[in-house]
C-alpha cells in the first residue's frame, strides 16, 4: 500500500514542510476551538472543575488510534512504516512526572502555549520563554543526566507487544477506558457546577 505517502516517496522534503504548516494550522485551530488555549480551563483538570483536557486528549487519542487501526486493516496504510516512538522506561516515567508538575504550575503545555500566545495571552508567551529556558538548562546539564537519558531502553514496543495480547484487544481496552473516563468526568463536572 502506498501510505504513509511520504514514506513511499510520493513527495519530497520541501513539500513536507508545507504539509507540516497545514497540519499545524489544523491542530492549533482545534485546540483553540476546544478552549485549550486558556490556562485556567486547562488547570481546571487538576482541580476537578473542568475536565476538558481529559476529554479532548483522550478523544483525540481514540480517534487517531481507531483510524490508524482500521486504515491498516483495510490495507490503506502500512502500519509498519509509521514511526513508533521508542520506549525508555525511566526517562518516560520520570520525565512525565516532572512534566506534570510543570503543567499544573504553568497551566499550559508547549502546543497550547502557542495557541494562548497567538490568542493574545501574555502568560502563554512567558510560559514559552520558560520552556526555552528549561530546554537550555537540560542541554547544559546533559552530561549529568546522560546515563538516565539512555537507560532502560525497551526499543519500539507497543502495549500489545509488551503484555502479549493482540493489538485489537488493546484498542478495545483503550476505547472502553476512555468512554468510562468520560462518564466519570461528566459526573465530576456536574457535581462541581
Amino acid at each position: 500500500m502506498s501510505a504513509p505517502f511520504y514514506e513511499f516517496g510520493l513527495f519530497g522534503q520541501e513539500a513536507s514542510l508545507l504539509v507540516a504548516l497545514a497540519i499545524g494550522v489544523a491542530f492549533g485551530f482545534f485546540l483553540e476551538r476546544g478552549g485549550l488555549g486558556n490556562a485556567r480551563k486547562l488547570a481546571g483538570q487538576f482541580y476537578l472543575t473542568d475536565l476538558a483536557v481529559l476529554k479532548v486528549m483522550f478523544s483525540a487519542i481514540v480517534t487517531a488510534m481507531l483510524g490508524l487501526f482500521w486504515l491498516s486493516q483495510l490495507g490503506l496504510v502500512d502500519l509498519s512504516r509509521v514511526y513508533l516512538l521508542p520506549t525508555y522506561v525511566a526517562p518516560h516515567s520520570i520525565g512525565g512526572v516532572v512534566f506534570g508538575v510543570g503543567f499544573v504550575m504553568g497551566g499550559l503545555c508547549p502546543g497550547t502555549s502557542c495557541v494562548a500566545a497567538s490568542s493574545g495571552r501574555l502568560d502563554g508567551v512567558v510560559l514559552l520563554g520558560g520552556m526555552l529556558f528549561g530546554i537550555l538548562l537540560f542541554n547544559e546539564a546533559f552530561p549529568l543526566v546522560r546515563g538516565l537519558y539512555y537507560s532502560t531502553d525497551l526499543g519500539q514496543v507497543t502495549i500489545a507487544q509488551l503484555v502479549g495480547l493482540p493489538y485489537g484487544v488493546l484498542v478495545f481496552a483503550v476505547v472502553v477506558v476512555a468512554l468510562g473516563s468520560f462518564v466519570v468526568a461528566e459526573r465530576i463536572e456536574a457535581r462541581a457546577r
Binding site: F5, L17, A20, I23, G24, A26, F27, G28, F30, L31, R33, G34, G35, G37, A39, R40, A43, F46, T49, A52, M57, A60, I61, T63, A64, L71, V77, R81, Y83, P86, T87, Y88, H92, I94, G95, G96, V98, F99, G102, M105, G106, L108, C109, P110, C114, V115, S119, G120, R121, L122, D123, L127, G130, M131, L132, I135, L137, N139, I159, V174
Partner: protein, 172 residues
C-alpha cells in the same frame, strides 16, 4: 463589544485533533510534536551566539544542520508556526482574541507570570527527558499504543493531581 463564542464540544474538538493526527500518520508516517521545535529554536539561538559551544555538543548538534541550510527549516518548526496561526485564526473567528492574562480569581498578574515561567521551565526539563510533550508523547505515542508514551501520560496526570494542592491559590 461582541461577546466571545462558547467553546466547541470538547469531544468534537478532540475528534478533530485526532483526525489531524491521523492525517499526519497517513501523509507523513509520523505524528505531531511541539517540544522538538522548541529544542531547534534553542539550538539555533545558542549556536548563533556561541557556535563553539554547540559544535561538539550532542544535545545541540542533534537539532542543527551543516550551515548551508537553516536548522529552522524543520518539520516541527513549520508545524508549530502552524499551531500558532491556527490558534489565532480560531480565536479571531470566535471573537476570543483578547490581549490579557488567564489566571485564577485569587492570583495576581505577577504571580501568574512567575508561575508560568517556572512551570514552563520545569516542563522544558520534563519534555526533554521524556523525548516529547503532550503533543508528541501523549497524543502521538498514545494513539500508537507506545509503552513509553503511556508511562508519560500516567506520570504526568498523576503528578499533576499530586502537585495541584501546591498551586491552589493560583487557580481557584
Amino acid at each position: 463589544m461582541k461577546r466571545p463564542q462558547p467553546y466547541m464540544n470538547p469531544y468534537l474538538s478532540g475528534v478533530g485533533i485526532g483526525l489531524v493526527l491521523l492525517l499526519a500518520f497517513v501523509i507523513m508516517g509520523r505524528g505531531l510534536g511541539a517540544s522538538g521545535a522548541l529544542s531547534t529554536v534553542v539550538a539555533t539561538g545558542v549556536s548563533a551566539v556561541a557556535p563553539q559551544h554547540t559544535a561538539d555538543n550532542l544535545p545541540y548538534e542533534a537539532y542543527l544542520s551543516d550551515g548551508t541550510v537553516s536548522p529552522l527549516k524543520d518539520w516541527l518548526v513549520f508545524e508549530i508556526v502552524g499551531i500558532a496561526l491556527g490558534g489565532l485564526l480560531s480565536a479571531l473567528l470566535a471573537r476570543r482574541f483578547r490581549p490579557g492574562i488567564d489566571k485564577g480569581p485569587r492570583a495576581s498578574n505577577r504571580s501568574r507570570l512567575l508561575y508560568a515561567f517556572g512551570g514552563g521551565t520545569i516542563m522544558g526539563l520534563g519534555a526533554k527527558l521524556a523525548r516529547g510533550c503532550t503533543s508528541g508523547q501523549a497524543l502521538t505515542g498514545g494513539a500508537l499504543l507506545s509503552v513509553g508514551s503511556w508511562l508519560f501520560i500516567t506520570g504526568a496526570f498523576a503528578a499533576g493531581y499530586l502537585a495541584a494542592p501546591l498551586f491552589r491559590r493560583e487557580w481557584t
